[in-house]
């Protein structure tokens, strides 16, 4: 009886380990493959007789040198960073006051407007890109980084307002009431009291706005046509190809460099991000 129980327990543990192993390999393999490809010499990479899983010749930094020295990669990184900072600034400036006003000042309507603004997050770029391409042209922003700086807040603001509303709801009203009794106006209470204690929520918004900027593909592909003005997300998969020739070594190195920082940042703030999606379904 006891032996049977222990056998079952052992079987359960084996199934558990096997499951984790299967998913880790299935989901993580492309990244392992990026690492291997990034540091392999070309004669090794393009020899079908070689075992592709290991280095058959000494690893090389040649692909990285090519990537940083002879492509627009550094420029794309700079563009992404610049667009990211601008979009974060616009998003914070508009979303923080809006989220506060919708949680505190406007009563029953606040909640409804909040839900309405969240629903706009469900309207996909692939439905809007055609009219937006005309609006962008009308504004004289075609083929400019400014096109995406103007357009991206249209999806980062809704998500940020939604996330921040959850934060502001958890701040007790009495705190601001007390401050207002002490002579601060409502807006001063917001600036001097609410914002400082919501810094962690605001930081979450900064991180997610930034990662959304690095992940976006459709708008950047639509509005920006020259390679020099691109972001990493479009530049790497579209413009790192010369004619029909893929420089797989450099390409995979670029993928790795673009993917890892976002991945690490995102992972640190994951729990708050999930809270944004599951509000109402999980307490």
């Amino acid at each position: 009886m006891a032996a049977g129980l222990r056998a079952r327990e052992r079987l359960g543990r084996a199934v558990h380990v096997a499951t984790l192993l299967f998913f880790s390999v299935a989901l993580g393999f492309p990244f392992y493959w990026m690492v291997i490809t990034s540091f392999k010499r070309n004669p090794d990479l393009y020899n079908l007789k070689n075992n592709p899983f290991v280095f058959n010749q000494k690893p090389t930094l040649e692909h990285l040198r090519l990537l940083f020295g002879e492509t627009l990669f550094v420029r794309w990184l700079g563009n992404t960073l610049f667009a990211g900072v601008c979009v974060v600034a616009i998003t914070l400036l508009l979303a923080v006051p809006a989220a506060y006003a919708l949680t505190r000042l406007t009563g029953r309507w606040g909640g409804r407007l909040g839900i309405a603004i969240f629903l706009t997050y469900l309207v996909p770029p692939t439905l809007l890109f055609i009219p937006l391409s005309r609006i962008v042209a009308l504004l004289g922003l075609q083929d400019s980084l400014w096109a995406i700086i103007v357009v991206y807040p249209s999806f980062t603001i809704p998500f940020s307002v939604w996330l921040l509303m959850g934060f502001f709801k958890s701040i007790p009203r009495e705190l601001e009431d007390a401050a207002m009794v002490d002579g601060l106006t409502r807006f001063q209470a917001f600036l001097k009291l609410v914002i400082p204690i919501s810094l962690s929520g605001i930081l979450t918004v900064v991180i997610f706005t930034f990662t959304l900027v690095t992940q976006e593909f459709v708008y950047a592909l639509t509005f920006i046509s020259s390679a020099a003005h691109q972001t990493v997300g479009v530049g790497v998969p579209i413009f790192l190809v010369r004619g029909d020739v893929y420089y797989w070594g450099s390409l995979m190195a670029a993928c790795l460099i673009a993917a890892l920082p976002t991945g690490i940042l995102y992972n640190l703030f994951l729990d708050r991000f999930i809270a944004g999606f599951t509000v109402g379904s999980v307490k």
């Binding site: 006051p97 692939t126 990662t211 998969p237 390409l251």
Partner: protein
């Protein structure tokens, strides 16, 4: 009194800029998409003539469009079924603490957090027609012919399967973490009571725990459906809709027609076919949010 008076404009002053921004860049183009679809707008054209439903008529007669429409459903349904099954199993495996759990979580999250265009180009290399590592393994295992190995992105059926699997790869972590959040939120005492009563693992899972998880699984599915049905990135990078437009989905076809083909009106008409499903999903979300408010 004056404080109250000030408050009355303070609220709108704080939320109107955000709302106007979103209305200008989501609401206005949304309406324009409808107008374009019943007009004759091309890139560089001036003026606007109402042409009724002729764009829709011409789109519906196009076999490529009909293929894209059915592909969109095949793409969404099959990848979401795979995601749902995979995410539930994976969430179950990650539920309880074990050494290295944080690292495993980081690893399995990567496909979702890395830009999807970057992940897709990684797969394009893995599925390369000449240097595919998948074929290297299969040839060594004598499962495929070394002289005519499968072209994963070059044969219609295989290309569709590849697109579906890569999208599943991308979406699986998202559903997993949401379901995982659900596991930590359900009250422990009921399943534990059932365990004391002698209910076995699978019975507990299917009769008690999964039903309790249903609302959160709903959230994962609804977002998953939206993100999949409206995505064109995986298709665009892996196959460009090819071979011979056999892997086109609605969003990618709208892009090729409206942006690259400069026919804004017809592109808008194609992308409007996304709307009915979006409306249904939004309605379902509101209903479940409302229910959560009531209880």
């Amino acid at each position: 009194m004056s404080a109250l008076g000030r408050q009355r404009w303070l609220g709108p002053a704080m939320f109107l800029p955000a709302i106007l921004y979103v209305v200008a860049l989501v609401g206005v183009p949304f309406v324009l998409a409808f107008l374009y679809s019943v007009g004759d707008v091309k890139v560089g054209s001036v003026g606007y003539h109402f042409v009724g439903l002729s764009n829709f008529a011409s789109v519906l007669q196009n076999p490529t469009f009909r293929r894209a429409l059915s592909n969109s459903f095949v793409f969404t349904v099959s990848s979401q079924v795979l995601v749902l099954v995979g995410a539930n199993i994976l969430a179950l495996a990650l539920k309880n603490a074990f050494p290295g759990r944080r690292f495993v979580r980081f690893l399995i999250l990567l496909p979702w957090v890395a830009p999807v265009s970057i992940g897709s180009i990684g797969w394009k290399w893995i599925l390369d027609s000449l240097y595919s590592v998948v074929n290297w393994v299969l040839i060594r295992l004598h499962l495929v012919n070394a002289f005519s190995p499968p072209m994963y992105l070059g044969e219609p059926r295989l290309a569709m399967i590849s697109v579906i699997l890569v999208h599943t790869w991308h979406m699986l972590p998202f559903a997993t973490v949401i379901i995982l959040a659900g596991w930590t939120a359900i009250p422990r005492d009921i399943p534990e009571a059932a365990a004391v009563d002698g209910a076995r693992f699978f019975r507990r899972l299917f009769q008690i725990e999964l039903p309790m998880m249903l609302p959160i699984i709903n959230v994962a599915v609804l977002f998953g459906v939206i993100f999949t049905f409206t995505d064109m990135t995986v298709v665009y990078i892996l196959t460009r809709g090819g071979p011979y437009d056999t892997t086109q989905v609605l969003p990618s076809l709208a892009f090729f027609t409206g942006i690259l083909g400069s026919d804004l009106a017809e592109g808008a008409a194609i992308s409007l076919f996304l709307v009915p499903l979006l409306v249904i999903v939004a309605w379902l979300m509101l209903r479940s949010a409302h229910r959560a408010e009531v209880t």
